[in-house]
Symmetry: C2
Subunit: 238 residues, 2 copies
């Protein structure tokens, strides 16, 4: 009853990374793009990706491509979604390689100030503000959309914000990050501030800082030990 | 700079379904298992799965295997996770087929009373209570664990309970489902009841029903229109 193996599709497996960062100074959410230097889609922007090698795990492939594109101190990485439909890659055509190309996508967050782009041997690499992303190769626009939705969801119930903010930040910085991603209307500042402080995982460093006009604001730090105690409790941040 | 294509791994892609249901009468969470009838792991229990065919999407493959194993009226299905490390399938060995086997897993929920198992042409198929699951083929135990974690998480912030409960249910039935999955201590009944009613998407049908001893209890129905209005609002159910 098993289908003949000739009916089964043959695949190459790619890993594509949706790497987000936030430029706090400019108040912009950024995604890392690289310009493709080979066919198909040569010269077009795409998510940084690679094909999985013999003996290599999916996650190892995701880290390999990250290490080729940026230097970073800390990174948050998780699997995003697998895109594997027919006709997602022109190389599938019988006149080309005749195998399917499946993409396992990963979602990553890095701190903008800590990440250095590596341009060696590529024709282009750039942090693109989300609202200015150009046309992308393959179905990468769909993968990026999916990644952005994951970012929005995770801000609501998990501490991912602290993976992109500097180590110390004001509550205004935190609010600004949330509004950049979720839009101005997600919550007013005062409710947001009360809610976050009540969750109990932000530690006041005792240091105050001036951001332009207005009163000096306290610098906070994310307290991962306090958060760990809450980890199994369902919660919403906003 | 691109690796020679001989360095790239070749893959077959499988789809494995973690299909949960709940037997309300026995108060048990169930997972659908099938006995393998071919090598490798012939005669061992496994998640229902199949290999993706030429021209077939991942989701189509997931639905194909579902339709071969159970008849159902409604199903909830979403992609779970992709397992693709080296050495997860003995057929990878160079003396066998020498290609990697990647598994895209799907998470599914069906109503126990509406689902009929199809045993044609298989050596075994069964709803196993979670606490009695036997040793599974491949890394399917890990996939099942991942699926169970997804079920726990989704109960906290999404209306998946109403995909496995009968169409009308008492708040006691709903509470029983939550305790079967999350354990006795997740919340007391009175808080749970207040919280769920306050969320505003349960409609009282006006019908009361007796469950053994105790006062008759109201039958509720999940109101998907009311829920749709809340959909973009982050919330926790427990």
């Amino acid at each position: 009853m098993t289908p003949k193996s000739t009916n089964l599709a043959n695949f190459k497996v790619g890993v594509d990374n949706v790497i987000f960062s936030v430029d706090m100074a400019q108040n912009r959410v950024l995604v890392l793009l690289v310009m493709r230097q080979g066919d198909p889609f040569s010269g077009q922007w795409s998510l940084p990706g690679t094909l999985v090698r013999q003996g290599e795990s999916l996650e190892a492939a995701a880290y390999r491509i990250l290490a080729e594109k940026i230097r970073f101190k800390n990174i948050y990485l998780e699997q995003l979604y697998t895109f594997g439909g027919p006709d997602r890659d022109p190389r599938e055509s019988p006149d080309c390689f005749g195998v399917r190309y499946l993409s396992v996508s990963y979602f990553a967050l890095v701190r903008f100030e800590e990440a250095q782009l590596i341009a060696d041997g590529v024709t282009g690499i750039a942090w693109y503000p989300l609202e200015r992303v150009p046309e992308l190769a393959f179905d990468h626009h769909q993968i990026l959309e999916y990644g952005y939705q994951r970012l929005r969801n995770k801000l609501e119930y998990s501490p991912v914000a602290f993976d992109v903010l500097p180590e110390t930040f004001t509550l205004g910085d935190l609010y600004q990050l949330y509004t950049s991603v979720l839009g101005e209307n997600f919550s007013d500042y005062s409710n947001f501030r009360t809610r976050l402080l009540k969750l109990g995982f932000l530690s006041d460093t005792g240091v105050k800082v001036s951001r332009g006009a207005g009163r000096p604001a306290s610098l906070y730090r994310f307290n991962s030990e306090s958060f760990a105690l809450l980890k199994d409790k369902p919660m919403v941040f906003i």
